[in-house]
Subunit: 363 residues, 4 copies
């Protein structure tokens, strides 16, 4: 396929430029008979929307109201493609006219033009973060499907601008807090410190990166296809497909490279649930040999700082002439909080597909 | 596809269990008319073979002599599938009989059995590291194809057991050294220190993990498909598909999450080569918006320690009874040096595919 | 993929139920920089619309006005997904309420319900002929792309209700006539005879089938991938994916089974054009070994009669009780004339994909 | 994928040139735990082998002994790729040296060379009928899997050289006879008449085409994915991928185009089996809306006459010079009897995939 579709059985194709008429997706392969309503999708789209807090994110105001065009009848999925449409409303395309012939550092402007010979310069066109809206819509449908099997996905901000938040194993970790503060940080004091740092960066015309922690509960053992379609391989690909992602790690992650076998290996022990076995630790992050172990699936994703900054940078224009650039307009100072629902969505798409595949692959 | 094939236009399917009759692959989509001989494949298979140094790696002795069964005629590729076969010779399957009903910690034994209801317990069957042999064979063909476009891939060990080797930007980095020492470390003194540490681990019946650095030169800008098939997304998926991989990072990687936009962004500058533009730094690792920039493509992969250790571990058997296990047999104390050609092979497969896709996608 | 997408490099996914909110498609893989406007799509949608002549086709009146939602900027394709939306306006869903619990003979009502456990009974939902609208929209884009390479596709009605129209080799064959009469028959006298027969069938409450002839000019030799993705294999699959299609034949078709090698084989002869060789006859229908010969590509598709008839039929209802059924409502007496642009569209999608694949597959 | 692989969940890739070292396939996606032995494959390979009767088929003598290289352990499938290898033994490559620079009419010689710029001229290389051997091996595995669900596929010769054999509805149709005579014709008297006709063609240095009838029993309703992956669409593509196939038809086939709705539609009626409904006739050929009805699946495939004939033909050579050609060597006078197991194999691959897909697609 040509790069804009994802999945084997539970699939999605997304479309839309940042300042075009609309964004949307077509989900193909969602099983029939599942109760689905617009609000299931709208909820996650709101979680992805820019917060009211303009220090963190863009002041672009989009209603992001989804319309389900097909695939649902009398409140239930038909087993046919579910098309979801979101109209773009609040474009200030004129903000971007100045960027027609200039390549912004840290953006895909120049690489995109080298590839296609042509680009939509308005807000990055399809290389804009707005593209992730369609992923979130599709992921919301995948989550509804996964919930039927008791699978829950939650992602939060584990660090921003070098300030680390508590981990799930820490006493002061509070998951509920991640849905209360605009930064999606699992501790209010930490959120306040990050907020302070972001104010300073804002004044300096600069931006920040950060990390997302994602945790999936309710997985049965046995999901994931060995060799090339390992569960972690598919998740890694899904995560790095998100615009600003630069790294992904599972379980102990990079630290595993510094451990010994005797400290890294998770021991097996009998247990009384259906699986019959559990692991007494989880350095594996819930995946062994590319197959889910039934423990919590845990991974982290690193995001680079927002490339659009007010601070002056050096670049070249279309004529190849060196020029300075100070990027105005409405940009997220840090996209990481808004990336959390995108991480969840991509994880949901991978897991929905893995779940369907595991059912197909039977004698 | 069912998990054992990879790629869209330049594709490969691999087969073979560790102690079955043979391992091999079928490469489909390699263009016609390319000079290819058995030695092109045999060379990389030798690089992947266990070193003579038994402190580092398994003493299993396999000739690993490839046979090209199809797809080459009068010394040139036909554009038809290239099947490569490697017979397994040196099995000591009896070593594994004791593992028929016990699940080794850190291995895929239990997850595999939960998935398939059945497994080849001899040396891990298809979840064995021997599976990567077929990847290396396919990657060798991809490298020959990429070389025609001036693309070179090289991977080396950047750390083992917590001991970091020099980076390419360091004065004492010596790439040639990586092909001289069995550890594939780019500095002989560092190799010696690692060797010492591995001796100590061997005596303790333990094992080590490490990291691989991979660098690709000769890429033109414009490779990679936006959105889901970004070049880094495909590479990340490819890397995490390698057995013991736990994390992958591109360019600044996890450190990017701690940078500011003003320090992370790479500036564009005019240059006199065909691309017309280059970047004055490479925090991006050679990829922006999922598309190659034309700079060096750079990424790192973290590998966990070898799970098979002599040290006693706790696990359960098929009957669900807790038992202790001390794994005997021939195992790599650290698989990282042998993973380098595997990383190269997977990178080659991704890039060969991206190169073909970029040619197809034209007006 | 889950059945609603088509193609490898030039791809499309379609969505929409007959009486849902909308029908549409997302085309992914169309190269960048191609001039494309709404009218290119609207033109073929009009050719597919029910004719004014209610003897032939449904009196459902749909504007079928397409909206291009993405993928086009400043009049040219961006290389990003092109989403096309057509709202459904004229539903008389109440016409179908009576069919909620009854399975119509010749329709997919029962099989669909067996598969999905649930169906949209309004006009057949997604098994309706209205689904082909999205194919025609996508095919129109593919035609614009193919036209850049000088490739032209034309399909017409070669028989209806047992009345055969002239063939291209006949003196009275007139291609222009196929766009003049509502029946798309290449001779006005023949069209009149068919019209008469259809009037009789209408009075009898019955329906008719027929055949489509499709001819493609401008193909270079070398398109099509050997073995499973032969050009004729892909075209055959594409044609049988059209609702009422029951058979497809290439060149001499079924007659080839009755020929001898000496009469069937087409001789090669030198020629002065770029290909250097042409064939002195075309029993092959323009394809040898699954690869285009550069001669006219010719194939025929057989369509069964419209299953919805006023005449009384026997069937069963949801409770398993035998019942009689006389289908009222607005239905095509013969869908074959409207199938011609659908055949063209599917051929265009196959050929656009084959053209891109042939470019990717180079040293 | 690059043309040599087939299927979505139950997949196969084939390899091998006619006079290369070997032919074979890798089957990926066959579920684990199925009893499989070499003889399951060898049996169908023998059915595909040239008959002893040299009037019909080539005198090339190949043992065609399969070796299962992987994917089977202790007599059962592992859920891993099953690689099957068949060595080529009896090449008389020197027979073909004369064809190095000449393009045979009716063969893919010239189109293949236009596509790849290069070809294996020995016996057609990969465009040879020998390529189908690997399909038969893969199909044999698919049949074993299908048999577990009570699905049986049988194909026979329904006509050769213009002589029609009885149909299943005829009193003198005898399926067992198809495995007794070398022509696979379901009536001995008819076989004798065809044999006579073939003798005459042999003396004339000519060849014959024919048709295959394929019938599948044991299908449950609900197999096949609507829209593009309809069961008949996939079967049609599979059949036209067989070298000499020129047409395919389902149920009433081309005759459906001449029927009325009232004669073509199959009525539904209650029945006492699990499906609850059956059809009182089968013009549909067992498929409605692309989904199996549970009735017998029936289709026919037309094959052109063997292109290699002793009779003199006109062609061109590599230099573009017109020349005459009389093809010597060992060729099937009529490939149709040997095509029957190939038709079965392709049907088996489509159905195994459809069966797995139908299981994956559940809530």
């Amino acid at each position: 396929m040509a790069g804009n579709s994802f999945g084997t059985l539970f699939t999605v194709v997304t479309f839309g430029e940042s300042h075009g008429k609309a964004c949307g997706c077509v989900i193909d392969g969602c099983p029939a008979g599942i109760a689905l309503e617009k609000e299931d999708i709208a909820r996650d789209l709101r979680r992805r929307r820019p917060g009211g807090d303009t220090v963190v994110s863009t002041s672009r105001l989009e209603a992001d109201e989804p319309e389900i065009l097909s695939g649902v009848f009398e409140g239930k999925t038909l087993g046919t493609p579910i098309a979801v449409l979101v109209r773009n409303c609040d474009h200030h395309s004129q903000d971007y006219e100045a960027l027609r012939d200039v390549y912004r550092p840290g953006h895909a402007d120049w690489t995109w033009e080298k590839k296609f010979g042509f680009r939509d310069f308005r807000g990055g066109g399809r290389s804009s973060g707005r593209e992730t809206l369609a992923r979130v819509a599709a992921g919301a449908v995948a989550k509804v499907f996964l919930a039927l099997s008791g699978i829950t996905i939650r992602a939060w901000v584990s660090s921003i601008a070098g300030i680390d938040a508590p981990n799930p194993s820490d006493a002061d970790f509070d998951f509920d807090e991640t849905e209360r503060n605009a930064l999606r940080v699992p501790q209010s004091a930490c959120a306040a410190r990050i907020q302070e740092e972001l104010e300073a960066l804002k004044n300096a015309g600069d931006s920040a990166g950060g990390t997302i922690f994602c945790q999936v509960s309710g997985l049965v053992p046995g999901l994931g296809e060995p060799v090339f379609d390992k569960l972690d391989a598919l998740l890694a690909g899904a995560m790095l497909s998100i615009g600003a992602a630069k790294a992904v790690s599972f379980g102990a992650g990079f630290a595993a490279a510094y451990q010994h076998g005797s400290t890294h290996n998770d021991s097996l022990a009998p247990c009384s649930d259906a699986a019959g076995v559990h692991y007494t630790s989880n350095n594996a992050g819930g995946i062994l040999g590319g197959i889910s172990t039934g423990e919590l699936l845990e991974f982290q994703v690193a995001f680079k700082p927002t490339p659009s900054i007010r601070k002056q940078q050096t670049t070249v224009d279309k004529a190849g002439v060196v020029c300075d650039i100070c990027i105005q307009g409405r940009h997220d100072l840090c996209i990481v909080p808004r990336a959390a629902p995108v991480v969840e969505a991509m994880a949901a798409l991978v897991l929905a597909d893995a779940l369907l595949l595991s059912r197909g692959n039977k004698r």
